[in-house]
């Protein structure tokens, strides 16, 4: 079955530093989605990547999908205290399993002011 590896598990940064989380899969993915969960909150959809090598930006957030569609990354430039939370990648398989998301363990981001 799908294996979703997300690293690091924790990341502490000073406000203004950059942050990156990585997601790796053992299988080729149909697409990958990223979610953010604030402490005490629920996951909130950030973005979906579909194409091989795709790069998308949302203000200070940059999302990449690997050429082989087996890995992805989320990079935040110049973190702010509002970026605090857990960032999850969620991998979507293809074929008959399409529609099923498998979430990674998440990366917990702490930003020190």
């Amino acid at each position: 079955g799908q294996q979703v590896m997300q690293i690091p598990q924790y990341q502490h940064v000073q406000e203004g530093e950059d942050f990156t989380t990585y997601c790796n899969s053992s299988t080729t993915l149909s697409n990958i989605q990223w979610y953010k969960q604030r402490p005490g909150g629920h996951p909130v959809f950030l973005i979906q990547l579909v194409k091989s090598g795709e790069v998308k930006k949302q203000k200070r957030l940059t999302f990449q999908f690997g050429e082989a569609k087996k890995n992805s990354s989320l990079h935040i430039t110049a973190t702010q205290t509002t970026d605090v939370g857990t960032y999850f990648c969620a991998e979507q398989a293809g074929g008959t399993s399409y529609g099923k998301l498998t979430f990674g363990q998440g990366t917990i981001l702490t930003v020190h002011p």
């Binding site: 979703v4 989605q33 996951p43 529609g99 099923k100 979430f103 363990q105 998440g106």
Partner: protein, 113 residues
Amino acid sequence: EAGVVQSPRYKIIEKKQPVAFWCNPISGHNTLYWYRQNLGQGPELLIRYENEEAVDDSQLPKDRFSAERLKGVDSTLKIQPAELGDSAVYLCASSLGTGGPQHFGDGTRLSIL
């Protein structure tokens, strides 16, 4: 647009008691998901509905868990009897179509005594 509504927000019961959770998805969203999220983990899919049909219930512990989605709108998830290991947050999500961005409710935090 109203979001996904779940109730109750919190539930505390003794082991071996039954418990039920309710979810009202976003209007027009034909796909509904139930997830379980343990502390420090990503959400794990329990069951996925397309309209009123359960299309993926492979992760649902069917000896004690049941779910229904009558008329393809609201859904309920039931546990009977509850065990100590069922303590978790139960999240409901919905999406406009299969594979699209998922919108999560606030979840029900279940504690088993």
